[in-house]
């Protein structure tokens, strides 16, 4: 490898990015040094095992990745605005749609959802932290360094360019030489391990750490969806782990699992990818359903309609999500019987999904609906997601799918479910739980601006794509010719994308504005909430609840408020609280993972081996670690609680 190949060269956009990256790093280092914040950064964030701080870090990264993926999207839309545009060349376009897809699903949607999960679930079940706080920190840092590794491909070595699906044989060394797809294989592996551990962690947390009285059928809906999501993660992610490992062998050591020669089987990759990939889309949508359920119920001031049916339908969806993967390649020639089977299983998903939609509608009925920003996102989800869902059913009809597959019709479908489902949920959850995370509300006026710009922009951008698909425009084309009649709809789509971009900018401004001028949340319960996270201060003390709450019904906090007994702190009841200690090891181990991964990407095996030794060393040190946490004294709890109440 020559140095001239090591750094990506020759593109003004790339040089601008290089400069921006260097300036940002210098800026961050300067600010931290000038304000003497290094110690604070280390003590409060890099070593923290507090689920709330970890959740916040996940969300910050997700918003940054949304920015990166969004810039990719705008570049693509710019290129497609008019026929025969010369803004991006084929290679550049291919890299951009690959990184866009990968980043949006794995480094934006997943961490955003996992971030909200981290902040909210322990609070909702009345726990002090997750079951394995140290593991939780490791999960985050693995995700973080996995994401960083993927992102540097852009300036060092070159980005992957075989699509986020990385189909073989295209993704093999023969057709994708260079390190781009090595980054894909290794970076996804590292962050995937983090996700798998998160799945285990939250499964145990929810099963073992609920407050007394909170039976499974008294759990808030969001917690339920997270529980089921964890089960999906635990079954789906090992498939990705294995598939990526085989891909890594193919690319680094010239094995032939998926290549064309020596009995390699490219269809095996497609199957493994989607056996993980389809459940994956449900990993990001089920918690979103949970977020919408919480918000709809809160702002309709009503209990969730058909709670049991809601639980049943998420279990049903989770089960079905594992037996539908072939719908991603009906066109591979598996034969009509196989295609018919997978058509029917796929369409069957619409049944539990339909049940949920009607249950939301009937939660709203007879309610008293308040149109806060969070609620607007949740409400907008319903009609938009229904459009995505019904077109999903159309795609599920194998014989018809031959006409939609890999066209812009498909692009429109999955953006209608992923944006109107997951992204709306992330924004809804962000506005809803923001006061819980930071102690102040996001500005409602700016929030509504974001909402309308983004929601309208989204429809303007993606609705025309259904028609572009039917006109014969296939996905991943970097340009098209003028005579096809595709230009007007493409222009419309680009305008929509720009509106979404503006909406995002308003959101960022809102975060800044609200930090300075936002309304403080003194009560801990700004929305008149129903679940336990609203029973404690905003932001909660690091031990969450001074006294573990007792749960007697669904909507535990709502019932407490009705019966006139919130969580008044009776000082004589306080007991010392046991909390886990901070540790810098998850951060350091993950850095070692980063270097090991970097070594693998460039086949610098010495570096990889040295880094691997550090990883193992970290694990050994952990096994001999007998720090089992510390106690917070009653006096300190009293002091913290008095301070919090004085604020109120």
């Amino acid at each position: 490898m020559k140095w001239s190949e090591f750094f990506v060269t020759g593109e003004p956009l790339i040089y601008a990015a290089d400069v921006a990256i260097v300036l940002t790093i210098i800026g961050i280092v300067f600010v931290l040094t000038y304000f003497k914040k290094w110690k604070w950064l280390w003590d409060e964030w890099l070593t923290t095992v507090d689920h709330k701080k970890i959740g916040i870090m996940y969300i910050i990264c997700a918003v940054l990745m949304l920015f990166r993926g969004g810039v990719d999207a705008l570049l693509m839309r710019a290129q497609l605005t008019a026929p025969n545009m010369k803004f991006l060349d084929a290679q550049h376009y291919n890299e951009i749609f690959t990184t866009h897809g990968t980043i949006m699903i794995l480094f934006m949607a997943m961490p955003f959802i996992i971030g909200l999960m981290n902040v909210v679930v322990p609070l909702q079940i009345g726990a002090r932290d997750v079951a394995y706080p140290y593991l939780n920190a490791l999960s985050f840092w693995l995700f973080f360094f996995g994401a960083m590794l993927f992102n540097i491909s852009f300036v060092i070595g070159g980005s992957p360019d075989a699509g986020w699906t990385a189909y073989f044989p295209l993704a093999s060394n023969e057709f994708s030489p260079g390190v781009g797809n090595n980054y894909y294989a290794v970076a996804l592996q590292i962050s995937g391990i983090g996700t798998l551990m998160t799945g285990i962690n939250f499964l145990v947390t929810i099963l073992k750490m609920r407050a007394p009285g909170m039976t499974l059928m008294r759990m808030p809906m969001f917690t339920w969806t997270v529980l089921i999501t964890c089960v999906i993660i635990i079954f789906a992610f090992p498939v990705l782990t294995v598939a990526l490992a085989l891909m890594t062998f193919d690319r680094l050591f010239d094995t032939q699992f998926f290549t064309m020669a020596n009995g390699g089987m490219s269809m095996l990759w497609a199957n493994l990818f989607w056996i993980w990939g389809h459940p994956e889309v449900y990993i990001v949508i089920l918690p979103s359903f949970g977020i919408f359920s919480e918000i709809v119920s809160t702002f309709a001031r009503k209990r969730l309609f058909g709670y049991k049916a809601m639980v049943g339908s998420i279990v049903g969806i989770a089960f079905l999500s594992f037996i539908v993967w072939v719908h991603h390649f009906f066109t591979m020639g598996a034969g009509p019987a196989v295609n018919s089977f997978f058509s029917i299983t796929t369409m069957a998903i619409a049944i539990p999904t339909g049940v949920k939609v009607f249950n939301w509608l009937f939660t709203l009925r007879k309610g008293k609906i308040r149109f806060t920003t969070a609620m607007l996102w949740a409400l907008a989800f319903i009609p938009n997601f229904v459009i995505g869902g019904v077109t999903g059913v159309m795609l599920a009809m194998a014989a018809a799918d031959y006409q939609y597959h890999n066209s812009y019709f498909l692009i429109a479908h999955f953006h209608y479910v992923l944006i109107a489902g997951t992204v709306f949920a992330c924004f809804a959850g962000l506005h809803y739980w923001y006061p819980k995370m930071f102690g102040h509300l996001l500005n409602e006026r700016l929030g509504k601006w974001t909402f309308w710009l983004f929601m309208i922009g989204f429809n303007v951008c993606f609705f025309p794509m259904y028609f572009l698909g039917l006109m014969g425009m296939t996905r991943r084309m970097y340009t098209y010719s003028a005579g096809l009649g595709w230009t007007p709809l493409n222009v419309v789509a680009t305008i929509g994308a720009a509106l979404m971009g503006i909406g995002f900018i308003v959101l960022c401004y809102n975060i800044y504005y609200s930090a300075r001028y936002g309304e403080r949340d003194m009560t801990g319960d700004p929305w008149d909430g129903r679940t336990l996270e609203w029973a404690t201060a905003s932001p909660p003390a690091h031990y969450n609840f001074p006294i573990t709450p007792e749960v007697t019904d669904l909507d535990a906090y709502w019932v407490m408020k009705k019966n006139g007994n919130g969580l008044e702190v009776k000082e004589e009841q306080l007991k010392p609280i046991h909390m886990p200690s901070n540790s810098g090891r998850p951060f350091l181990i993950s850095i070692a993972f980063f270097f090991a991964g970097f070594g693998l990407v460039f086949k610098w095996f010495t570096l990889a081996i040295i880094a691997a030794i550090f990883i193992i060393l970290g694990l050994i040190l952990r096994s001999f670690d007998d720090d089992d946490g510390y106690y917070i004294s009653v006096d300190e709890i009293k002091r913290t609680e008095r301070l919090a109440r004085k604020g109120a």
Binding site: L170, M260, A261, R303, S340, S343, K368, V390, M477, G485
Partner: protein
């Protein structure tokens, strides 16, 4: 509060817009909705059947949604209204489980029928024409084994005759798609898939690869020219008599990654290599061939 009402209505704006687009002159442009052959027609009917139900579902949900939002929004008049605590309603929940089940069933039955039907020619009274299709980086090669002719980046077919396209690929996977004639199927290296299409009327139909296959994938377009039977036969004769022979060297050159224009030959590469029956790269198992298939192929039947 009026504002709220308008919000409720805004959701609806998209629905008529879509219908308008669909039904207006634009539909001329919409290849999938302008079937030019029986295969595409089967798919068109299925699509229209499903769109009907989908619009019905959308209408029901949107109306319910708007009614609920308008009636139950918070307003000064209902300041001291306290929503009731309802847990659910078993009867209603059974109803809205049953309705999707029914809809899925009425969609599934024609889907299964069509899925099976598309595997066979749409008419049985004429002998289908077989054409081997080879996708290569980044061009389409069409071989007529019975006529002994080969074309690149365009394919002529007779009208009203089912055409069996035998698909394969040299290298990355592509998808063979001619929207006006019918849906697509993948072309994969070392494998053969079959797609049967048929044109009802003479005309020129756009085809392209629908599956990303690398740098110049966007340019993997081809033209399907459907001709009257006599015209087709005349064309075949002409090609047989006037077109140059395809040599192994020339073929190896065509396979090199890159774009090429249209070409016509009076023999086919199937005479020495069929990529569907072997991996086109790095052969193993003691049988030898160097890169682009110099192996004498004993599979051809003609």
């Amino acid at each position: 509060m009026k504002q709220e009402k308008q919000r409720g209505r805004k959701w609806f704006a998209w629905l008529p817009l879509s219908l308008l687009l669909l039904l207006s002159g634009c539909s001329e442009n919409i290849a999938v909705l302008n079937p030019k052959g029986p295969v595409a027609k089967v798919q068109y009917d299925l699509i229209m059947w499903s769109i009907g139900f989908m619009l019905l579902i959308i209408a029901v949900v949107f109306v319910l949604f708007a009614v609920v939002l308008i009636r139950y929004r918070e307003k000064p008049e209902n300041a001291d209204y306290e929503p009731p605590d309802e847990e659910g309603n078993t009867l209603l929940e059974i109803v809205w489980t049953a309705i999707p089940i029914i809809i899925v069933t009425v969609l599934a039955i024609p889907t299964v029928k069509a899925t099976f039907a598309l595997e066979k020619p749409q008419r049985h009274d004429v002998e289908p024409l077989t054409i081997h299709v080879t996708a290569a980086n980044w061009k389409w090669i069409f071989s007529y084994p019975d006529q002994h002719i080969e074309t690149v980046n365009y394919v002529n077919i007779p009208e009203d005759v089912p055409v069996k396209f035998k698909l394969t690929s040299v290298g990355p996977m592509n998808s063979f798609w001619v929207p006006e004639l019918g849906g697509q199927k993948y072309a994969m290296d070392g494998m053969e898939t079959q797609l049967i299409l048929q044109a009802d009327q003479p005309g020129s139909y756009m085809g392209r690869s629908a599956n990303f296959s690398g740098k110049q994938f966007t340019h993997m377009e081809f033209e399907v020219v459907a001709q009257k039977k006599e015209d087709f036969e005349k064309w075949v004769k002409e090609v047989q008599q006037t077109a140059p022979k395809l040599t192994k060297d020339k073929y190896a050159e065509i396979l090199k990654p890159g774009l090429v224009g249209r070409m016509t030959f009076s023999n086919t590469h199937l005479e020495w290599v069929d990529h569907a029956k072997q991996n086109s790269h790095h052969m193993n198992n003691g049988e030898h061939s160097d890169h682009h298939g110099n192996m004498e192929n004993d599979h051809h039947e003609h």
